[in-house]
């Protein structure tokens, strides 16, 4: 159902790597198409290799420096940079800067119910585990 979502309305969830602000999810807005998250990643932390089997994703860097992986390719992304990830494609994001990185993360379509977000962790599978081990230490 259409609604205003003010900054104070965004529900935050804290993890050991940072924080997710759930801005638009099926259980808050009823959207069947869009999951929108404000993601904060702490320095030296990241979201290790994973994929969303049935959902396309766009990650826009609002602030900070991110080492973004797209399968075996990686690029460093700063403010105004982004990545588009097709459904099923393995990717990962690590904060390689000195400050908390802020990302606008968009996933679609929404899976029915809850946060609308489906993820498969592949960080313990090869070649992803080896790629993560071989990363430069920041």
């Amino acid at each position: 159902m259409s609604r205003f979502v003010k900054a104070g309305d965004v529900r935050h969830e804290t993890f050991d790597w940072g924080r997710i602000g759930w801005r638009c999810t099926p259980d808050t807005t009823g959207s069947t198409q869009l999951v929108v998250m404000d993601v904060a990643i702490e320095p030296g932390k990241g979201h290790d290799f994973h994929r969303h089997p049935e959902q396309d994703e766009v990650i826009v860097v609002s602030s900070g420096q991110i080492e973004q992986w797209l399968e075996r390719d990686r690029q460093e992304l700063g403010p105004g940079d982004s990545v588009y990830v097709d459904a099923g494609v393995v990717h990962a994001s690590f904060n390689v800067g000195p400050e908390t990185a802020q990302l606008q993360v968009i996933i679609g379509p929404a899976m029915p119910g809850g946060a609308g977000y489906d993820v498969e962790d592949v960080s313990d599978q090869e070649p992803w585990a080896a790629l993560a081990r071989a990363r430069d230490p920041y």
Copy 2:
């Protein structure tokens, strides 16, 4: 097809009311689910009443002050505020601040081909035309 979209890769289109940066569209990334736009609205300008018949939308204010309409309701949105708009629901956004307003606009699913964006202008229909005429002069 998955790809990095750096700040310099975003194609900008200029209008009399501001600018759209097409960050993710079917013709640039191949996404069938997500259209992501960087929208800049000049002071005193706006996107008059319209609707997207088959697409949900999220508008997040990055900077500036927006008078956001959701059918007959309106709220002033600042940085970190947003609105979720169900497919088919009439809405409008006007810049009521002294500076260019920057918005992250997300629409899904993507319509096939081109920018993936379908819009129906209702600004000359009632009650929308009367509401726009009755707006406070900023």
